[in-house]
């Protein structure tokens, strides 16, 4: 709860009688001299931090007692001002007005030492502390016999001064008993003096009366105008003093007469101020040297008389209007009056705010009449529990512990004890200064938090058990507090411009949550009303009364709904407007480009007070970010949203205004608080004006956007929205599937082009780098998509020698959290291999080597083998596979890894490559083994599942391997190889014939190509069969024939590294078929044309 400030007691030094000082100067000095520089001897609890706050003696800026050079103590301390001197009436007037200025400056928050306590006259009256009121006169401490104080000074000025001090005393007493912020709102420090609090106020009144009488007697002696002016000031002072004296008694007296009378004097005070003559010598800041002050000396505060009067006028007016809060009309109305009164601008003075606090609650009574418990019950009845048994006082009288009513009473008791104070504090906190309201709201919120765990209430009559009325109520208040905190944030301009879209979104989010919650409450109330209707029809006792209570509650809920809708709609439209401004970079940003702050960090800071609150849940940053920026909505949609919402907002505010500020009983016609209602209405009207302003702004933005769009259309006539190129992870996935289908459909050129776009989209989304801050699932999905893209991409680079730009950077492989060596999954393993391949491609690209060196081949091969060794058992051993999927994964992995290794070793097949024979043999051996491994894997894949072997990349890799194997194998045509080729033939014919031969003409491109490669494969094997038979008969001279007409599609614009070129038929190195059966080359050529490089050039053939 908000504590009441305890009154600070002045510190007095108590010196025991028997104290003997002992001179230790020499000892001390010698000891101190022994210390090293920088060494401190100190109290162990005394910190350097405290030491910083110490006042440095003999420093003119810090030491209020310091006397400058040449100032002797007599002048410096005494001020040679003669208290007993005669003052002209005009001078007295001047002093009075200046004192009033100082008084108001103190009300505004300046310390006494810089305001009233600079007056020498007041100082003389107040120090030393007077024992009797007679003792307070200007001749104190002087020799009384010497001189008489002039009557004017003694009677008029003294009375004025004393009454002024006494009214300050009341203010001081009121403020210090309430919750205020020292130095922020007010400085209560009295510097060990008193404000004459020990004397009864009636003495001051009689002094004032005497002074007024005295002036009246002096007609003709004093100037008429001056006398009138002084008289007015004394009268004002008398009324002001009685006003301050009234203080809390206003609850009983209900009298605003004093302050009204004060107000009536103010105009004359302001007019007659010109008559006064200032006496600057009567004020001196040097008095600070004698005040018990723990702060450095500060200059005197001077405010103008007009400012002082303006403050005074506001104070009196607020004090008059204060009467309107005194009639208790239920918590809702009370909240409205208090908020409206305290939201006046400028904010009411600290005295008024403290007084309101005291009026709201003192001695656990609201407004001096309503017990806190009743107050809380009224609130509960209004909002969540209309005519509920929970609130019936009769329950308190049951003493049988087993009776449910007894238990209810106990429940409610606990509830009241815990929550009446925080609830009342929501009212009191309105009395703080605006910044503090915001901060305290955050605190109060914590207290309401605990309520979220209310158990369902068991009622005797089986009433709505699940309406959770008390939690509902607490949640309602929590949401109100949230809204308050956010709205005060706007009022106090604490949000940076770049935060505005987000904060408006958050406000609307809270509002819509609140609306949903009120709907929930309403459901239960409406249900209760329906149940009651039957009773009503039966004319049961209480039914009619209950009906009206329920209706009242429903009306209140309606009223709240209207208000929140108004705030919500306004927030939505401003949100949309600011989003547009931010999008078009019209919003200024406060943080510089290099600033450490980011949207995410700012959001964290803003939401800190809400972090611990479980309900409403904190919106996670990503969602907030998406919602706040209206991602994915075009400008048109956003502006449409803004326009709609703002007209909605205007309507809702109009409805709010029409509803009026207060809930009135049906028989009431007049507003209970006309003056404050005026404030409330003005506020709503201002809001409506703001709505109009916002709608004009929205229109302007709309026009500007249209104009911009128009000018764009002129520049580039093609419609900009023809292709939606805004990348998302989903779109990339779709594109990858399309690309895969395209390449399967023998449309590799189009596929490659599409993949390029996909790749760029990946980079736009930043998939190629690690982006922190995504939830783990999203992060993993992003990585998977990237690696899927990399797989296709690396295939193009390897098979078609197309350059790729993705090799530059890559995100982490999306390992499963449980993944570890020996248990790497299929996708992980494949990604790791691709990563090695990409590295290899990168190395070739950067070094401009056409092929790998021997040691590089060994190295990459080892790495791939190591990766395979770390794969999960089912990927390595057939007998560890249990499911179909595992078998497919195993064979696919074998296919690709073998293909990759064969690819690296392919250089050994190139007779022009610089390799020594021994190494060439080793690598060639590897190459051929892996080529046949590839084919083997493919055949196995087919045997596992015939659909699996249709995958385009696998199929293509296998056929390429087969031709390469055949072309390089004719010397030692292994029976195993033959076996493989024949099996492959069978697989292909499976596919070709599986498609059905009926509609040959309608075949897809892929089917055509499959058919032709099958044909080619058959021809090749037939040729080789013939050749090998011949070879047995005659030996053929080894002539390396060149391949005269390689497919035009294999000719790239960039010089291609031969090793990875389209090498199914590179340079048949050995005794290729001679003229008589030279058709092998031709066959291979034809095959390469049709099968392996389909339509790269045209893309659409």
């Amino acid at each position: 709860m908000l504590p009441n400030n305890e009154i600070r007691s002045p510190t007095m030094r108590v010196v025991p009688q028997s104290v003997a000082p002992r001179d230790i100067t020499i000892d001390f000095t010698t000891a101190a001299a022994k210390l090293r520089t920088g060494q401190l001897v100190k109290d162990e609890y005394f910190t350097l931090f405290e030491a910083v706050g110490a006042l440095e003696i003999m420093d003119s800026k810090m030491d209020s007692g310091y006397l400058g050079p040449g100032e002797n103590s007599a002048q410096a301390l005494e001020d040679d001002y003669d208290m007993m001197r005669e003052l002209a009436p005009e001078e007295v007037l001047g002093i009075m007005d200046e004192l009033l200025c100082h008084e108001m400056a103190w009300h505004m928050g300046h310390p006494l030492s810089q305001t009233l306590f600079t007056s020498l006259y007041l100082d003389r009256l107040l120090w030393p502390v007077p024992e009797t009121l007679e003792n307070t006169h200007f001749g104190r401490g002087q020799l009384q016999s010497n001189k008489e104080v002039p009557d004017l000074v003694h009677i008029v000025l003294r009375a004025y001064c004393l009454a002024l001090v006494k009214s300050c005393d009341f203010v001081h007493a009121r403020v210090t008993t309430e919750y205020y912020f020292e130095e922020e709102d007010f400085v209560t420090q009295l510097y060990n003096r008193t404000l004459l609090s020990q004397f009864d106020p009636k003495h001051f009144h009689s002094l004032l009366d005497r002074a007024i009488r005295w002036i009246d007697e002096q007609t003709g002696i004093l100037g008429e105008k001056v006398a009138e002016a002084m008289r007015a000031r004394l009268l004002f002072r008398r009324d002001f003093l009685s006003g301050m004296e009234q203080d809390l008694e206003v609850i009983d007296t209900r009298s605003a007469a004093q302050f009204l009378s004060c107000l009536s004097h103010l105009d004359f005070l302001s007019k007659s101020a010109v008559l006064g003559i200032r006496v600057p010598e009567a004020f001196s800041w040097k008095i600070q040297r004698r005040l018990a002050s723990t702060v450095p000396p500060r200059p005197m505060v001077n405010i103008s008389f007009e400012d002082a009067l303006a403050h005074l006028r506001r104070l009196c007016q607020d004090a008059v209007d204060l009467l309107e809060i005194l009639d208790y009309k239920g918590p809702y109305n009370l909240k409205v009056v208090i908020w409206a009164l305290l939201s006046r601008k400028p904010q009411p003075s600290v005295y008024i705010r403290s007084l309101v606090q005291s009026l709201i609650v003192s001695n656990r009574t609201i407004l001096g009449t309503v017990p806190v418990k009743q107050f809380l019950y009224d609130e509960l009845e209004q909002i969540v529990l209309p005519s509920s048994i929970l609130l019936q006082a009769s329950a308190d009288e049951i003493e049988v512990p087993s009776d449910p009513r007894f238990q209810i009473a106990q429940h409610m008791d606990v509830f009241t004890k815990r929550f009446s104070q925080p609830f009342v504090d929501t009212f009191r906190s309105a009395c703080l200064n605006r910044c503090r309201i915001r901060r305290t709201a955050e605190d109060l919120d914590e207290q309401l938090r605990a309520l979220s765990n209310e158990p369902p209430l068991k009622l005797a009559n089986g009433d709505t058990t699940y309406s959770y009325p008390l939690s509902s109520w607490a949640y309602h208040h929590k949401l109100s507090q949230f809204r308050l905190i956010l709205q005060l944030g706007f009022e106090l301009s604490i949000y940076a411009p770049e935060e505005l879209p987000g904060m408006y979104w958050y406000l609307s989010h809270i509002c819509s949550t609140h609306l949903g919650h009120i709907d929930r409450i309403r459901t239960f109330t409406v249900a209760a009303t329906k149940r009651n209707l039957t009773d009503l029809a039966a004319k049961k006792r209480d039914a009619f009364e209950r009906h009206s209570v329920l209706q009242r509650s429903i009306r209140l809920l309606e009223r709240l709904t209207t208000q929140i809708i108004a705030v919500d709609a306004f927030a939505i439209s401003l949100h949309a407007l600011y989003v547009l401004l931010a999008r078009h970079r019209i919003l200024p940003t406060t943080s510089s480009a290099q600033a450490y702050s980011s949207d995410r960090l700012r959001y964290e800071i803003r939401m800190k007070p809400f972090l611990q609150i479980t309900l409403p849940e904190l919106v996670p940053y990503d969602e907030y970010h998406r919602e706040a920026l209206l991602e994915g909505d075009s400008d048109d949609i956003v502006i449409e949203r803004a326009t709609k919402a703002i007209s909605e907002a205007r309507k809702a505010w109009e409805a709010t205004l029409a509803n009026g500020a207060f809930i009135l009983d049906s028989d009431e016609k007049e507003s209970p608080a006309p003056a404050i209602e005026e404030d409330w209405k003005r506020d709503i009207k201002d809001t409506m004006r703001a709505c109009i302003g916002a709608s004009i702004a929205i229109e302007t933005v709309k026009k500007a956007l249209k104009a911009q769009a128009g000018s764009k259309d002129c520049e580039e006539p093609q419609p900009p929205q023809s292709v939606n190129l805004r990348p998302t992870v989903e779109i990339i996935q779709i594109l990858l599937v399309i690309g895969s289908v395209l390449s399967y459909n023998m449309n590799a050129g189009a596929s490659y082009t599409l993949l390029g776009m996909t790749e760029r989209m990946c980079m736009v989304l930043g998939l190629h780098v690690e982006t922190s801050g995504y939830p783990r699932a999203v992060q993993a999905a992003r990585r998977r998509v990237w690696w899927a893209m990399a797989f296709q991409n690396s295939h193009f680079s390897l098979a078609y020698d197309r350059p790729s730009i993705t090799m530059i950077s890559q995100p982490e492989i999306p390992y499963d959290p449980k993944s570890m060596p020996g248990h790497r999954g299929y996708f992980e393993t494949l990604c790791r291999i691709i990563s090695v391949i990409l590295e290899m491609l990168r190395g070739l690209m950067f070094t401009h080597h056409s092929h790998l060196r021997y040691h590089e081949i060994r190295d990459y091969k080892h790495r791939i083998e190591r990766i395979l060794a770390e794969a999960a058992p089912h990927l390595r051993f057939e007998d560890r596979c249990t499911t179909l999927a595992e078998h497919i994964e195993r064979t696919e992995l074998r296919l690709h890894s073998s293909y990759f290794i064969s690819l690296m070793c392919r250089v050994s097949l190139d007779p022009d490559a610089h390799l020594d024979d021994q190494r060439r043999e080793i690598i060639k051996e590897d190459c051929l083994t892996n080529l046949s491994n590839t084919i083997e894997a493919f055949i196995e894949l087919h045997s596992i599942n015939t659909h699996a072997s249709r995958t385009w990349i696998s199929l293509q890799r296998t056929i390429a391997s087969a031709f390469l194997l055949v072309a390089n194998n004719n010397e030692r045509l292994h029976p195993h190889t033959w076996d493989l080729i024949q099996k492959l033939e069978a697989v292909l014919s499976d596919h070709v014939h599986g498609d059905g031969e009926a509609d040959r003409n309608n075949r897809t491109d892929s089917a055509k190509h499959l058919a032709s490669s099958l044909r080619a494969l058959r021809e090749v094997s037939a040729a080789f069969r013939a050749h090998s038979q011949k070879q047995k008969k005659l030996s053929v001279p080894q002539t390396a024939t060149t391949t005269p007409s390689l497919s035009p599609a294999t000719v790239f614009t960039t010089p291609s590294p031969a090793a990875f070129g389209p090498v199914p038929v590179p340079h048949p190195p050995t005794h290729s078929a001679s003229s008589q059966d030279g058709h092998i080359d031709n066959i291979l050529n034809r095959v390469s044309n049709v099968m392996l490089f389909p339509n790269m050039g045209t893309g659409s053939a």
Binding site: R13, P21, F28, A32, V41, D43, L55, I57
Partner: protein, 117 residues
């Protein structure tokens, strides 16, 4: 006095009430919190004492004379209390210190004196 005993001596004074006289004749009475090699002294809960101004002394003297005249006793000494005020936590720079006194209950002082003699 070596460094150790110097530190010990000063540490024994921590928390005691010191009267520090400044060059401008003011006296600062407060609880000793901290000092250093330059003899800067930090005092907590300090009261500032100032010698009465000449005018106050004069007034007191005339008052005393009047009293004396009334009671027909010649007063040699007059008593004027020093003005004092609370100023809280202060640091008195070493170069402005003219004298340091330790306040101790007279009982204790006497014991110390007896011990010394």
């Amino acid at each position: 006095m070596d460094e150790n005993s110097a530190v010990q001596y000063l540490e024994a004074l921590i928390g005691r009430t010191l009267r520090v006289h400044a060059t401008d004749t003011r006296i600062f009475v407060g609880i000793f919190k901290c000092t250093d090699a330059a003899r800067n002294i930090i005092l907590a809960n300090t009261h500032e004492y100032r010698y009465p101004s000449p005018s106050a002394v004069r007034d007191a003297a005339t008052n005393a004379e009047e009293l004396a005249a009334e009671s027909a006793v010649t007063a040699q000494n007059i008593k004027v209390s020093m003005t004092s005020r609370f100023i809280g936590l202060v640091v008195v720079p070493g170069q402005h210190i003219t004298k340091i006194e330790l306040e101790e209950p007279s009982q204790q002082g006497r014991v110390r004196d007896t011990l010394r003699s």
